[in-house]
């Protein structure tokens, strides 16, 4: 077999295999290097497979040589390719930028364990994205969740522990709900392969268990995706995680759950359940609207940069869910495009928090005042990324907002409500972003501020600035040239509505 044929398998296996190597590294720099190399490899593979699927093809792989539904099949289509790029890209960039931050927040000897868990989280997320098997999704979901608990719990503040425990309990409930749903489906169809399920559900006349299964799966995944009001675990988990972890997890983790949810609801249930479309729509749309507003309000009231960003995520996830809840092609395209654009903006936001904390130890506003004078480039990058969060034209965030509003316009009267909520929350985003901009540029440095608490090594800093520049640049680049992600998003939306896997 040609190595290219193994692409889907390699995508998961490379980071997976690198994880055990990581703990065998005695030196923390080596462990970091292993993680960087593995992430880099995963990222290149993701880009490669994106090239293969961009013309509408799908890459499939039968694990162990057993064809589905008897074996486990892997599958990369436009949607999953986009997700793999987001995930591996977030991991690579966060790792590259975070070398100094990891040294600041983590004990050296724990770093091999930490980076090993990091790679497992990466492999888990990639595994969920690529597999086409309902139970395999569960297994990899657990790898990624357990690994995420570990790397979040590495946060130096004791509040991280409470946050992780909450995350663990809610995450496990979510996963178990998912398992119940899959069990009910399996009971009625006898198969676990997603495509096969969709096919065989056609013949199932008893819809009640399927209906309940849809409920359990959707709610379980919504829990993992931090969809309002199931988001309670998320702000603290993001806030108290080590900065390097926030940058990674916030960019991609919840999106993977949303991805699975959208696949199930649109590909499996939609064609086979009567009225599923409306139920999905009426269930999620109000929640999304409330999430968009409440997340933005809390963010606007925050006094800490990371907390602000975490709550802004609640609101931004609302956008994705809102787009999906329109259940139209335009709506889904906007949702999927926003996954990508939000990853850019939010990953970048947490990178800023990371850089700020390098110099001022915490991300509390009182500490960050006047950052712009001492570190003009970090502040400038925040302006760009903040604009993307608001959705200023010329940035990536604008593209998704445009798509969402266009999609809402198709809805008639309901669209007006949606647009007004989106507009209102954009204004709130202006408030919370500009609060920080003013803080950076106009507030005076606190007297005797704890400046330069750790010795920052030159190469690490250079790497950080490079990555930050790259992310900020990408926010602009994809605001002006969104062709590639948009094309993938459009394809993905068509595939979702086409009902074929």
């Amino acid at each position: 077999m040609n190595m290219i044929d193994h692409l889907p398998a390699l995508q998961v296996i490379v980071p997976l295999i690198s994880a055990p190597f990581c703990i065998l590294m005695r030196n923390h720099m080596l462990a970091w290097a292993v993680a960087v190399v593995a992430s880099g490899a995963a990222f290149s593979l993701a880009i490669l497979s994106m090239g293969f699927v961009s013309d509408g093809a799908t890459l499939t792989y039968a694990m162990g040589g057993w064809e589905a539904p008897y074996g486990i099949a892997l599958e990369i289509d436009a949607f999953s390719a986009l997700l793999t790029v987001i995930i591996s890209g977030a991991s690579l960039l966060a790792l590259l930028a975070g070398a100094a931050s990891a040294r600041q927040q983590l004990v050296d000897e724990k770093q091999p364990l930490f980076f090993s868990a990091w790679l497992l989280a990466l492999a888990g997320l990639l595994g969920i994205t690529i597999t086409a098997d309902a139970f395999n999704i569960f297994v990899f979901m657990e790898i990624s969740s357990l690994a995420s608990y570990v790397i979040i719990a590495a946060g130096p503040h004791r509040k991280a522990l409470g946050a992780v425990f909450k995350y663990l309990v809610m995450g496990t409930i979510g996963a178990t709900f998912y398992l119940i749903g899959v069990g009910l489906i399996y009971m009625m169809t006898g198969t676990l392969n997603l495509e096969d399920i969709a096919l065989r559900l056609n013949d199932v006349s008893d819809q009640r268990p399927i209906f309940v299964a849809a409920g359990f799966i959707t709610i379980g995944l919504a829990l993992k995706a931090a969809v309002f009001p199931l988001h309670v675990w998320m702000p603290n988990a993001y806030n108290y995680a080590p900065h390097i972890v926030s940058a990674f997890i916030a960019a991609c983790a919840t999106k993977v759950s949303l991805y699975v949810m959208m696949r199930f609801d649109f590909m499996v249930f939609q064609p086979n359940l009567v009225g599923h479309e409306f139920q999905f729509s009426y269930f999620f749309m109000p929640l999304a609207l409330i999430a968009i507003l409440s997340g933005a309000v809390v963010a606007a009231l925050s006094r800490d940069l990371k907390r602000l960003l975490a709550w802004s995520s609640v609101s931004q996830i609302g956008y994705i869910v809102l787009g999906a809840s329109l259940t139209t092609e335009a709506g889904l395209t906007s949702a999927i495009a926003h996954m990508f654009n939000h990853a850019l903006a939010k990953g970048g936001g947490f990178l800023i928090a990371m850089g700020a904390a390098l110099y001022y130890t915490t991300t509390r506003f009182s500490n960050l005042a006047g950052l712009g004078k001492e570190h003009p480039w970090i502040a400038a990058a925040f302006v760009v990324i903040g604009c993307s969060l608001i959705g200023v034209p010329g940035t990536a965030g604008f593209i998704s907002k445009w798509l969402l509003v266009s999609a809402a316009l198709e809805q008639g009267a309901l669209g007006v409500l949606i647009i007004s909520v989106v507009v209102l929350s954009s204004l709130l985003a202006v408030v919370y972003v500009w609060k920080v901009v003013e803080l950076f540029y106009f507030a005076p440095r606190p007297e005797g501020g704890s400046s330069d608490v750790m010795q920052v090594r030159k190469p690490e800093m250079l790497l950080y600035m490079l990555v930050l520049g790259l992310v900020a640049g990408a926010n602009i680049w994809f605001g002006i040239m969104p062709g590639e992600p948009l094309a993938l998003a459009g394809q993905a939306a068509q595939a979702l509505l086409g009902g074929s896997l």
């Binding site: 139970f135 657990e142 425990f165 663990l168 309990v169 496990t172 399996y186």
Partner: protein, 119 residues
């Protein structure tokens, strides 16, 4: 009788409820974890139950003379995996509880919450 045909399912539902309730309602972190594993055990029962075939045997060829009817092996495979996942989660959860106890001196959620507020 439909009700009785499904009695394993009812046991599953009841166990699930007990576990679920204690996860949400209990304030003691260890209790929450115990509830969580109960919650998961219930799901194991759901899967294993659905794999049973009347008059079947364990899916091992040659164990008994009746080689023609086996219970469904697939749910068993899934649950083997799920059990392992469950214990892994529990172990991780417990280690976090240990650290919480050391950091806060308590494993009662309300006490921890109060101490966080004071800060």
């Amino acid at each position: 009788m439909v009700w009785l045909d499904l009695y394993h399912y009812w046991v599953f539902a009841i166990l699930l409820m007990i576990g679920y309730f204690s996860v949400i309602a209990k304030r003691n972190l260890v209790k929450k974890l115990i509830g969580l594993s109960l919650f998961q055990s219930a799901v194991f029962l759901l899967y294993i139950t659905m794999g049973k075939v009347d008059g079947g045997t364990a899916p091992i060829i040659g164990m008994t003379d009746k080689t023609d009817i086996f219970s469904n092996p697939l749910p068993q495979v899934l649950i083997l995996t799920a059990i392992v996942v469950g214990i892994s989660t529990t172990a991780l959860g417990l280690s976090i509880v240990v650290r919480i106890k050391e950091a806060y001196g308590s494993i009662e959620e309300d006490v921890i919450h109060q101490k966080d507020q004071v800060e």
